[in-house]
Symmetry: C2
Subunit: 239 residues, 2 copies
C-alpha cells in the first residue's frame, strides 16, 4: 500500500499524532485502513491501546511514511482512514458555517462546538475540505465525534432542516447577544460567516444578532465569536 | 542598516504586512527605525499614509529584506521598530497570563482583550517573547494599543497591583462562570494559565472560576476560554 500526502480527491485521509489517532480508533474504527507506528515510539500504553483495538494486519512499523505525510517533527503515530459521509441529526442543534476558509479555525470551531454539545455542523459551500489533516489536527481529534454536512446553498440547508430556527451572527444589526433571549423550546442553528467578510445580508431575515466589542478592534476572531455564542446559548438553556 | 531575522536578544522587532505597520505608525510612531516598501507594492492609499506620517529618511524601497525577514509571500510592507518598555495602568482592569507558551494564541488573546476594553496584560514568567513578530502578526496590529508587563512571579504582580481583585480561571473548582457575579466596583484581573496545564493550585486562593464544557472535549482552547470570560465580565459591568 502506498499513501501520498493528502489530496482532496483521494478517498482516504489521516490523523497525525497519538491523540487524534486514538480518537479515530475509539469512534470510527470501521474506517481504518492502516495505523503506522514510528519505530522510535515507545509509549507502551498507546501501543497497547492500538493493538487491543485494531486488527493487527492493519498495524505497521515504518519510518519513511512519517516524513512523507507530516511536516511536524513530533508525530509518531499516523492513522489512515477511509473518508465517510455524514448527515446532520435533525433532532439536535446545529452550527452553520457559511463559506469557512481557514482549516485551523474550522478545527478549533469543531472542538468548541462539541464543548457545548453542538455535534452537528452544516457548511454552506464554498468551504474548506473538512477531511484535510490540518482540520482534524486542529480539532484535537474531536472531528470524529461530530457530523458535518455540506450544502450548496443556505436554501438547501433550510429545506432539509426546516424545523430549525436560525440565528445569524453578523455586524449589520443592533440586536445584542448580551441582552438576547433564545427560544429554548426550538431546535436551534447558530450561523456564522466567512472569516473576512462575515454573513451575507440575506441572513438579516434570520434573527440577526451582534456580539458587541469595543471600537479598538475591527472584529473578533471567528472561533472566539462563535465560542461566545455557544457559551451564551448553553447558559440560557441551562437556566 | 542591516536587519536580521528576529532574535529575542535584539533591540528591535518588526511588523509584517500593511495592516500592523499602519497600526504601528498610528500608535507608536516614535519607535520606528525604518519602513520598507516592496517595489511591486502599489496600494497608493497605504503608501500615502506611510509618507504622510513617517519621516521620509526612514522609508526605503527594497526587495531583499522581504525574503530575509518574512516566510510568507503576501508581505509587501515591513516596519522595523525599537522595542519599548511598558507598564500596566493601575487604574484599569487587567488580564493575567501565567506561563503562556504559544505566540499565535498570545496574539489572539491581545485582540480579544482589546475587544472587551482590557488594554493591560500581565505575563508571569516564563512566557513567550511578546515582541516576536508572530505575536504582533496574530494580534492583527492591536499589539501596539496595549500595555504588557512581565513579572517573575504572581507575588510580584500582586505586590505591584495590590488594588486589583484576581479571578482565577481553572478546572479545580465548582464555581461556574455562568452563575458567577463579579464585583463590579473593584479593579479586576482575569487570570489564565498555560495552554497545556492551566493555572497552578496556588491560584485557588484567588476566586477560582470554572468555565463548564461538555465531557466530549478535554478542554477549551485558551483563547476561546479567555474570550468567554471577557464577554461575561463585560456583560455584567454593562448591566
Amino acid at each position: 500500500m502506498k499513501f501520498q500526502k493528502y489530496k482532496k480527491e483521494e478517498t482516504y485521509s489521516y490523523t497525525l499524532g497519538a491523540f487524534p489517532t486514538l480518537e479515530l480508533i475509539k469512534t470510527k474504527k470501521e474506517t481504518i485502513i492502516a495505523i503506522f507506528i514510528h519505530p522510535s515510539f515507545n509509549n507502551q500504553e498507546v501501543i497497547n491501546k492500538i493493538y487491543n483495538n485494531v486488527d493487527s494486519n492493519l498495524i505497521f512499523k515504518d519510518e519513511k511514511i512519517f516524513s512523507k505525510l507530516s511536516n511536524k517533527e513530533n508525530v509518531y503515530i499516523i492513522g489512515i482512514f477511509k473518508k465517510y459521509e455524514m448527515h446532520l441529526d435533525k433532532n439536535m442543534n446545529h452550527v452553520l458555517l457559511d463559506n469557512p476558509s481557514d482549516m485551523g479555525n474550522l478545527g478549533t470551531i469543531i472542538r468548541s462546538s462539541l464543548g457545548f454539545d453542538f455535534l452537528n455542523i452544516a457548511i454552506i459551500e464554498p468551504g474548506v475540505d473538512i477531511f484535510n489533516p490540518k482540520v482534524i489536527r486542529a480539532s484535537m481529534g474531536s472531528f470524529f465525534l461530530c457530523n458535518i454536512e455540506y450544502f450548496h446553498s443556505l436554501e438547501d440547508y433550510l429545506k432539509k432542516y426546516s424545523e430549525h430556527t436560525l440565528y445569524s451572527f453578523m455586524l449589520q444589526t443592533d440586536i445584542k447577544l448580551s441582552s438576547f433571549k433564545f427560544d429554548k423550546n426550538k431546535l436551534t442553528t447558530l450561523a456564522f460567516g466567512n472569516e473576512a467578510h462575515g454573513l451575507d445580508k440575506k441572513y438579516l431575515k434570520y434573527n440577526p444578532i451582534i456580539i458587541k466589542h469595543s471600537a479598538l478592534i475591527d472584529s473578533l476572531n471567528i472561533t472566539n465569536a462563535l465560542t461566545i455564542a455557544l457559551y451564551e446559548f448553553d447558559k440560557q438553556i441551562k437556566e
